[in-house]
Amino acid sequence: MPLPPVSRQEIMLFRLFRLILVCALVASAPLGAIAQVADQVPATPGASQAPAAPVGSQAPVAPAVSPAPPGLIADQQKMIKDLTAKTDGFEKKIQQDGEEDSSLVDIRLQLEELSRESLNTALAFRTRLAEINARVQQLGPVPAAGQPPEPDIVSTERQALTSEKAEINAVISQAQALSIRISGLIDKIGNMRSALFRNLLTKRYVLSDALSPQVFSDARDEFGNFYKAVSSWLSFAFKFKFQAILAATFVALGLALVLLVGGRRLFGRVFEADPTNEDPSYLSRLSVAFWSTLLPTLAVGAFLGSTIFFFNYYNVLRGDIGLFLNALASVIGVVFCVNRLTNAALSPRLPNWRLIPVETGPARWLVRLATAMAVVISFNTFLSIVNDKMGSPLSLTIARSFLATIIVGVILILMAMLRPFKARDGSWRPWPAWLRYLSLSLGLFTIVAALLGYIGLALFVSLQVVVTGTALITAYIGFLSAQAIGEEGAFANTSVGRWLSANSSYEDTALDQLGLVVSVAINLMIVLVFLPLILLMWGFQPGDIQAWAYKLATGVTIGSVTISVTGILSGIVVFIIGYFLTRWFQGWLDGSVMARGKVDTGVRNSIRLAVGYAGVALAALVGISAAGIDLSSLALVAGALSLGIGFGLQNVVSNFVSGLILLAERPFKVGDWIVAGEISGTVKKISVRATEIETFQRQSVILPNSNLINNAVGNWTHRNKLGRIDIKIGVAYGSDVKQVHAVLLEIARSHPLVLKNPEPFVLFSNFGAAALEFEIRVFLADVMNGNIVQNDVRFAVLEKFNDQHIEIPSTPRAVVETKDAKAWPTDDDKIEADFVEQEQAKAEAAAEAKRAAKSGRKARKPDPD
């Protein structure tokens, strides 16, 4: 059969897939497994018979399950032995390297790897264990004392399996013991590291040793060594690797250029501050600050990173030089980033683009001071690496750190003393008090700590001030921009907002709400990015942060309550999905099924509403259970509360139930003309609590459903719209009654909207005081047309009566003239004058009262004399 190309391809794919599968099976299954497959084919009938007739020894007993893969246990045992040996090695190393934080972290990572490996060795037994268990189950239990003994072959096999299982369990328990031991070691490392940190912060050095003239000669020696190392490397590199260096530098430079130029092209408009712009919006200032920090920093980072990468690649680096170069790169990166950030935020050249409204002079100083601080700290870090590698004396390290911390402390104090703002009267105003005192106290703290000899503490504080401070300021700028976007109408003015409003049907309000969402998202992102960053800087391990995040996501247990972010989120998601599904189903049922089925609108409406409520209730229930909230624990509380709720929400519940009854019973439907007590109008909407009725004056009346259930409701259009209208007419005594009757009947019959059946009827209803009273009673197909018909009939009656000279009497009213005393002529001026007088009197009274109150207070005070 010729196949279409697609299906042929599919078949080819399928064959290929099958081939791969078979290959994989063959490769993965050890020889024993294949033997097992071969064995089991004849074994299956026997195995199925075995439990049925264990007594019948003539039944062919299934041959043994495949023998254990040879050497599995031995292999794993050996592996565990290796792992244990490695762990022993690490334990020793922990003791040796206990003073060095970085090597402890390294050991910890390797131990974690070992722990995973030990778990994996245990995992290797899983299939074998499952096989053994299945086989033992097939063999059935050991026969009890009274029962006939089982054949030898069965009992020996069972024994063999049991002993193998015991062996496997022994190996796994070795692995377990190893993993427990490794966890213990990891905990120990954690304790040692925190002790190290504490030690670093609290260790006091003797400054008098460190600051002796000896230091200078040490420093000179050190510098000489360093210079020698670098220059020898340089000469080596230029002699043998010159081309490689050149190539690496050019490639790195090219990469950075591409990044910078590309970024400038892409973000050019938001990137560059426009000096001609007199009053840039806060948002554009923020975005300029952000991008002009981020892009150049990224470019520099890319340049440095790729330089080092290519140097490594071409084997240019040698020995310690790589470490020095790494350190140098990070120094340059940090200094550049700090400088860019301060420049962007304070923009000393363009006062209009400043994020913080400081004056130009102080802005320039702030940039210089911040950069200087970054330079000092980074240079110190670089030197510490050099010292470390050169094995220089401790006194040199102390002296260097002492100097750096003192400089940072002084810079902090200088920053605090700066008066960056200008008051209206031209005087300089200092920073806000909290900032000033914070900076001042940090600076003083650093200097005092350094002077007292707590160099580690001082260095730690000054490093944190620079690094954490930079991160915090960046995060703060991000928060500010989120706030600016969230403001009313701000998002519509951004380029994204303008693009959206041009290219989509979003209205202003929708854009505004979108802006709110964006600002919330930015806030969230900043927290997600900077919180881990700052935690990392404070020496937490990525693993710790991951574990925390995981715990937060899967559930924090407080007492017996577990709060889990994922649970709550999944509950919300489930509810939302359920809600939209309900809406979709409702729409489909209403629009496609029932509309096509010509179902009555009232029924349609009822079904739609009922489906909607049921669906939302269901979605809420499923959502709550998906969120992991146990409803059964609420049952007790609900039982106790329901009494109170029953009383408190009596009306609401009664209305709710009435609403359900209305939907089921349908005494009226949407569009009906009903009369309920005083209210008469068209039903607009039947909800669960209340029904909306629109009167003919277009007033919406919200009528609680219980009113509609408990009281009589008239419905003009319940089954049909047929209705009768009555029109009263009086004629003068003396008229020809027969003629009148005939004329009226004629008028009623001749109207096109009046039904022939039931027939119109003219009732001679009364001998009134002033007139003979008639009533025309006509039936209409649609009672809604009553007003038109009444009008037409009345006009026609008047016309006909005029023609035939039939009088309609009207009762004359007597006009009585009374002679009153003449009222004061309405005089606006007089009224106004009176009003002014009254106001004055009031004001005077108020003033009097105030004075009285004041004097009263004074009187209560003790006399000064």
Partner: protein, 103 residues
């Protein structure tokens, strides 16, 4: 219900916001999905697993019909029949008739 459907038409303004919110929540939910091993007890009586995780042994008592999540990054577990097994943290342990099976 802010996103009321009226005459088969979504009311526009709220819906855009709702849609964005839904998208955000869905994104978060997808990114935040994590895995752990779970144990299901299909028996009526309580079964106990002994879990060794992170250097400590804990007894995990499972009431009848209960499902419990445990063992986030690998652990050893002693099953009711005395077998010791290792779990990576993505399995389901199903106990029925006093016998545990790992899936």
């Amino acid at each position: 219900m802010p996103c009321e459907m009226q005459q088969g038409r979504w009311e526009h303004r709220y819906c855009t916001m709702w849609k964005s919110l839904v998208a955000a929540v869905a994104l978060l939910a997808v990114s935040g999905s994590a895995h752990a091993a779970s144990a299901v007890n299909k028996d009526a009586e309580t079964r106990t697993l002994i879990v060794t995780e992170g250097g400590s042994k804990t007894e995990l008592a499972l009431a009848g019909g209960e499902t419990v999540e445990f063992c986030q990054n690998g652990c050893f577990v002693t099953l009711p029949n005395g077998d010791l097994e290792a779990l990576t943290g993505s399995e389901t342990v199903e106990i029925s008739g006093g016998v545990a099976r790992i899936k």
